[in-house]
Symmetry: C2
Subunit: 134 residues, 2 copies
DNA sequence: GCTGTTCATCGACGTTCGTCGATATCCATC
DNA sequence: GATGGATATCGACGAACGTCGATGAACAGC
């Protein structure tokens, strides 16, 4: 009996480079869901979707990337400035940034040659709410 | 320059069955740490420890277990009542409960033949704080 | 002490994941 | 349109993870 349970579904789109050659990524949609896990029943499907979201946070490199982007002066960071600080190869960093994008935790904006990443505060807030007491 | 960064270290102990045959588990200690990831710099070691914590949440079965325990009438649940709802074998459930214990997310209390699990609210609150704006 | 029950551990298997070198794609500039 | 730089994708490899059957350890009741 959980009146507030709703569907955790994949519907949102994350569009990188709105101009020509736009890439579209499916991201997890937790909007108007995110019932606090401590208060509302959770079925297997919802648990699977939520687990995917937390999986994006379950890697030290991704946490560092998220931190670097969030704590940057302007609120966004060029991908080119993210490779050295985490001490991984460029393909590895690119891979992790993609995971973060698919999880809806960051947005990517391509400007000319460079890609600028910014965090999506609402997504982090949603995950916080899931961990809350409701 | 982050004055509030502190050590994420392994020191806390989780004691199951305080009586004879007590088992001791090392758990991640995030106490007086947990600087908000969006505000304070994060080094590689801290990121690794935090990632371990989120890894515990990054599995659907563990999320269901956490949910079942947290939403139970009394705030605790017998392990024997957790196997059927998640649809996994008893060894698998036992494994996941151990992961949750090592992450400090649940406590285990052995009473006679049965083991009763309860959530550790403060641990979930700490993780919420890490995701917060500070 | 034997039996049945509950829970944890072990060993093995298949899958997923993080990583990197090589390569492809996109773009600005000359 | 050729060149060089920035980023994404591909393919492969090893490590970590989820799962389960079999087994072990702890305990209650007869």
């Amino acid at each position: 009996m959980s009146i507030e349970v709703c569907q955790y579904r994949r519907v949102s789109k994350s569009v990188v480079s709105p101009g020509a050659g736009a890439r579209v990524l499916e991201v997890l949609d937790l909007a108007d869901c995110c019932s606090p896990i401590r208060r509302v029943e959770l079925d297997a499907d919802q648990a699977a979707t939520l687990a995917e979201a937390f999986k994006a946070l379950a890697d030290p490199v991704r946490l560092q990337l998220l931190n670097l982007i969030a704590t940057s002066e302007t609120g966004e960071a060029c991908a080119c400035d993210l490779v050295d600080p985490v001490g991984k190869s460029q393909p590895t960093v690119s891979h992790h940034l993609k995971v973060l994008r698919e999880a809806g935790l960051v947005d990517a904006d391509k400007r000319g040659t460079w890609v600028w990443y910014s965090v999506v505060p609402s997504r982090l807030d949603e995950l916080r709410r899931v961990l809350g007491r409701g």
